[in-house]
């Protein structure tokens, strides 16, 4: 059984013009010890589909579908039960640790509060655990770091602290939402290596949400590509990124500079702009920007179908591998 199984997830958010669909029928699963990459442009619904699991959507949001985590449907748990399960078994890391860390509380306090609440440790045991956690994320000098405040650390170190807090209760699943986007590449590499080690050593499952296919390519085992609230292609990392089958996946890769490709190769931008929630085109949402679109793309929403070990939502399938 997979650690996390999401089926038919649909999220609608309240706006001035009524409920707007931001996640439109998404399926995926996350296995134990794997890094599952979720990629897409801003506004594609990748973050909302994760916040839905934790009951963190804004007031008035409507959620449908099922989210099985360790056999229980998170969407059907009472709020207090959900907080208990998600607080202990699911950790979350956000893009900007400056906003997710409390500026007025010491690092130690933020680490111990969590473990005392969820694991019932006494003060001394919690303090030991705090130092241990900071060692685990390779923060230099953990003994004095527990007494320091977030502003005394650099961006990369703050992200390590945020990861330590997320790991405090030994969660089974870590959701990392753009964890390296605000960091320099040299620091980003360190965080990616940290996540990779935690997954291997602690049998931790990681959902890595990112707009950066390079980041996803470094540590994800399986990937899903989101567009306008739906999954357009998913499968093993190597298959999807080396031989993309969906025109959108292909277009995203063509827009990127490839460090090993010829430098004179021109970057190919995708025509048009991604649609905003509330004005999603009918049929395949990508059709107005797709050079391969045919009549049916404008009319019918393509289902996500299994083809050769991957899932693809494109009836044209212009890049079929013979």
């Amino acid at each position: 059984m997979s650690l996390l199984e999401v089926e038919g997830l649909r999220v609608r958010l309240p706006t001035a013009r009524g409920l707007t669909t931001v996640v439109d029928g998404v399926d995926y699963r996350v296995e134990r010890g794997e890094v599952f990459g979720v990629a897409g442009e801003s506004g594609s619904g990748k973050t909302m589909s994760m916040l839905a699991l934790l009951g963190l959507l804004p007031e008035g949001a409507a959620v449908e579908g099922s989210v099985l985590f360790g056999g229980r449907d998170l969407l059907r748990l009472a709020r207090s039960r959900l907080r208990e399960v998600s607080g202990r078994d699911i950790g979350m890391v956000f893009q900007d640790p400056l906003t997710s860390l409390h500026p007025m509380l010491s690092v130690g306090r933020q680490l111990t509060e969590h473990v005392r609440l969820h694991l019932g440790l006494d003060r001394r045991a919690a303090q030991r655990r705090a130092t241990e956690l900071l060692e685990e994320v390779r923060l230099p000098d953990p003994e004095s770091a527990v007494r320091a405040y977030p502003h005394q650390f650099s961006g990369g170190m703050r992200q390590r602290i945020a990861i330590a807090i997320a790991l405090a209760c030994r969660p089974k699943l870590l959701i990392a939402d753009e964890p390296t986007t605000a960091l320099d590449v040299t620091v980003q590499a360190g965080i990616l290596r940290l996540l990779d080690r935690l997954r291997r050593e602690n049998d931790l499952s990681v959902v890595l949400i990112t707009h950066d296919l390079g980041v996803m390519s470094s540590i994800a085992d399986r990937v899903s590509i989101f567009y306008a609230g739906r999954v357009v292609e998913s499968g093993p990392r190597e298959a999807v990124l080396r031989q993309p089958r969906h025109p959108y996946t292909r277009a995203l890769l063509d827009a990127l500079p490839h460090p090993e490709g010829p430098p004179e190769q021109r970057l190919v931008a995708i025509a048009g702009a991604p649609p905003s929630p509330g004005s999603i085109p009918p049929g395949c949402a990508f059709h107005p920007r797709c050079p391969y679109a045919v009549e049916t793309c404008r009319r019918d929403v393509p289902p996500l179908l299994a083809v050769n070990g991957r899932a693809l939502a494109c009836p044209v399938d212009p890049f079929t591998v013979p």
């Binding site: 390079g214 990127l256 460090p259 970057l267």
Partner: protein, 329 residues
């Protein structure tokens, strides 16, 4: 002759608690017309300070900035002399550099150098929109009606209104989606080739700089550590820091390449390390590195490098090989 010449620039700031810090500690860069020069480095290395000094937004504590032979003096209350208007700056964040309450067209018209008739100005504004790949009707709309990438193009159109010969761009591609980034990168290359613009492109994204820039300068803690043709620098980085920056770039090819992390952090510019500023993080550092600061010297292929492993005038070689050869001696 280079259009923009920065010679041995020093930029210092006052810090409340610990006196003056040196954000740029003697850096030289030149940009010729039609040339794209990339300036890369981690955040806090002084690249934005150097950009601000280049256009006269901060007064350098040392060194000179010359633009078409005229000295660039710090901006004051009086209007810039006409010659200096041809040097323009594009900021990182187009959300804050455009006025949200005024139509795009009127903001572009402000920057036109030749007044002309009303009709001529309107025509020029429409033309500018088209040059940057927006429809001519964009002039009638407000900045909030555009995406981040389009707003950045509006910001570029506004600098083009001043008929510049050199643009300094401070992280123009950061915070854009991949597709918008590709569009803008292609636009910059086009502008440089077609209008003969010189571009000083400041970016932390090496992969994109490699696609766009003709030459690259690598900056670390206020000094330039390597400078040379982009292609050669990427194929064979001479400075260990350039090598580390390139090794940290992820590859979006699905092969699962795990980028190399650079240990440690950028030190406080208020207390730079002795000798070579990179030595505490350098995997090849030896006894000379903490003692003496290596000068930026030309190599046999014309590139410049500031590393004790790379002797002046020698054939370029990978730092790892030179370090091994040295320890074998």
């Amino acid at each position: 002759m280079s259009a923009l010449e920065l010679d041995d620039i020093v930029v210092e700031y006052d810090r409340r608690d610990s006196g003056r810090i040196r954000a740029v500690a003697g850096a030289s860069i030149s940009v010729a017309r039609g040339q794209i020069v990339g300036l890369v480095g981690e955040s806090g290395c002084g690249k934005s300070s150097l950009a601000r000094a280049a256009v006269g937004l901060v007064k350098p504590a040392g060194g000179t900035v010359r633009f078409d032979g005229n000295e660039v003096t710090p901006l004051r209350r009086r209007a810039r002399p006409r010659e200096l208007v041809r040097l323009q700056l594009v900021f990182q964040n187009p959300y804050s550099s455009l006025n949200p309450r005024r139509k795009v067209g009127s903001q572009l018209a402000d920057a036109l150098v030749d007044a002309g008739t009303r009709r001529a100005r309107a025509a020029r504004v429409r033309e500018l929109c088209e040059v940057v790949g927006l429809s001519a009707t964009a002039a009638e709309r407000y900045p909030h009606e555009f995406s981040g990438g389009q707003r950045q193009r509006i910001a570029i159109a506004r600098t083009l209104a001043a008929e510049p010969t050199v643009l300094v761009l401070d992280e123009p591609l950061a915070s854009l989606d991949a597709s918008a980034q590709a569009q803008l990168a292609n636009l910059l290359v086009g502008l440089s080739r077609e209008l003969g613009l010189g571009l000083l492109l400041i970016s932390h994204d090496l992969a994109i700089v490699r696609h766009v820039a003709d030459v690259v300068s690598v900056m670390y803690l206020g000094v330039i550590v390597e400078q040379g043709a982009t292609r050669r620098l990427w194929e064979l980085p001479l400075h260990p820091y350039s090598e580390a920056l390139i090794g940290a770039v992820p590859h979006p090819d699905g092969r699962g390449f795990l980028p190399e992390a650079l240990p440690g952090e950028v030190p406080d510019p208020g207390r730079p390390p002795s000798g070579c500023r990179f030595h505490p993080r350098c995997p090849y550092a030896f006894d000379r590195c903490p003692r003496e600061e290596p000068p930026l010297v030309p190599m046999a292929d014309g590139r410049l490098a500031a590393c004790w492993l790379q002797p002046e005038g020698a054939e370029p070689a990978p730092p790892a090989r030179l370090a091994t050869a040295r320890s074998d001696d």
